[in-house]
Symmetry: C2
Subunit: 178 residues, 2 copies
DNA sequence: CGGACACCTGTTATGATATAACTATAACCG
DNA sequence: CGGTTATAGTTATATCATAACAGGTGTCCG
């Protein structure tokens, strides 16, 4: 069907929240790691070996990944560390904003946007129940509304979460064929 | 200070998402349980002893409560059950809609609204980081927007949730004094 | 009534997620 | 270089959740 969006070569990181997984080449991953390193540098934070290793495991998939899955994958590669070390690395990556936590799955995924760090816009998360892929789309207008709703209730908001579970474009298309 | 909102006697359940805890008398609790029982009856579901006990523990506090905390409190009262039994009861209560799950805390709280079951409006959750109280306010317009944002990304939404962590009215007032 | 069926609970075991407390090492900076 | 702070190692444990199977209870219908 013509439903399939064939991404062009110039398809920027930001274009689709659900890029074709085929694009996740080793080269792409290296670039992603490079960007993360820069974020750490800009904030005068240390992008240590362990943090980089953990980040690479997270960034190597478009799906969300649990802490113990990261642990296992690092283990397979010969890096044996304790759970707590993974969690500490994750905390640092979260603080830097290069990964996000998916509350509804207790799992993590790499941030592939720049606008919420650069322009202060907050994203909402779209998590595919079939393939696990997670996408982010801008949700600043939604967060603004949430802030207003909280204010009406005399509630002082600090952290807001918006998560959606459903089917990503590819899995939606697959389901419609069936 | 005049900040303190003195709730009137006619202060309905629905009025404020953060009612005064003092109001949570034994009588109130009994009424809440009665309403839950009715929801089960209306849906031809069984409000069993265990489910009622679990619901009572959840409804007895305005804060969210974890499964193992429920387990412990029932244990103190002489009802010794396995974790799985608590979770099964929780599942039934969630299905019936008389409690909600707070994803960001892996905890549960009693629903004190009727409009989303009756009128199909979905609430957003406001969770106090200081006292643990959880309030619900209508968020149908927010969920509508989220649906639109998902649609733009060609994502098929199935489950959506919005959670806010911050300070409830009382804790906000307390913090401002300091 | 009593048997079939669906639903609920008990029992045991285990899996999955997350952190506490303390020690040791590495990086940073005056 | 030496003190301070941040990071990571080590060990142990807390917390959250479900699998698998056996036994019991309620309901409905012939």
């Amino acid at each position: 069907m013509s439903e399939t969006q064939a991404p062009t070569k110039s398809d920027a990181n930001q274009r689709s929240p659900f890029p074709n997984p085929d694009q996740q080449t080793a080269k792409k991953l290296a670039q992603t790691v490079e960007r993360a390193a820069k974020v750490f540098a800009d904030k005068s934070l240390r992008f240590t070996k362990l943090r980089q290793q953990v980040f690479e495991e997270i960034a190597a998939t478009h799906a969300s990944i649990g802490a113990y899955e990261i642990l296992a994958r690092l283990g397979d590669k010969g890096t044996r560390v304790a759970p707590i070390s993974i969690y500490r690395a994750i905390d640092a990556l979260l603080d830097a904003g290069v990964i996000h936590r998916l509350e509804s799955k207790n799992a993590f995924f790499a941030c592939r946007r720049t606008d919420h760090t650069v322009k202060g816009r907050r994203p909402i998360f779209l998590s595919c129940e079939k393939c696990g892929a997670v996408g982010e789309v801008d949700g600043q207008h939604i967060f603004d509304l949430i802030g207003e709703a909280a204010k009406e209730a005399k509630f002082t908001p600090r952290i807001k979460f918006v998560e959606v579970q459903g089917l990503c474009p590819r899995c939606t298309a697959a389901a419609e064929k069936a």
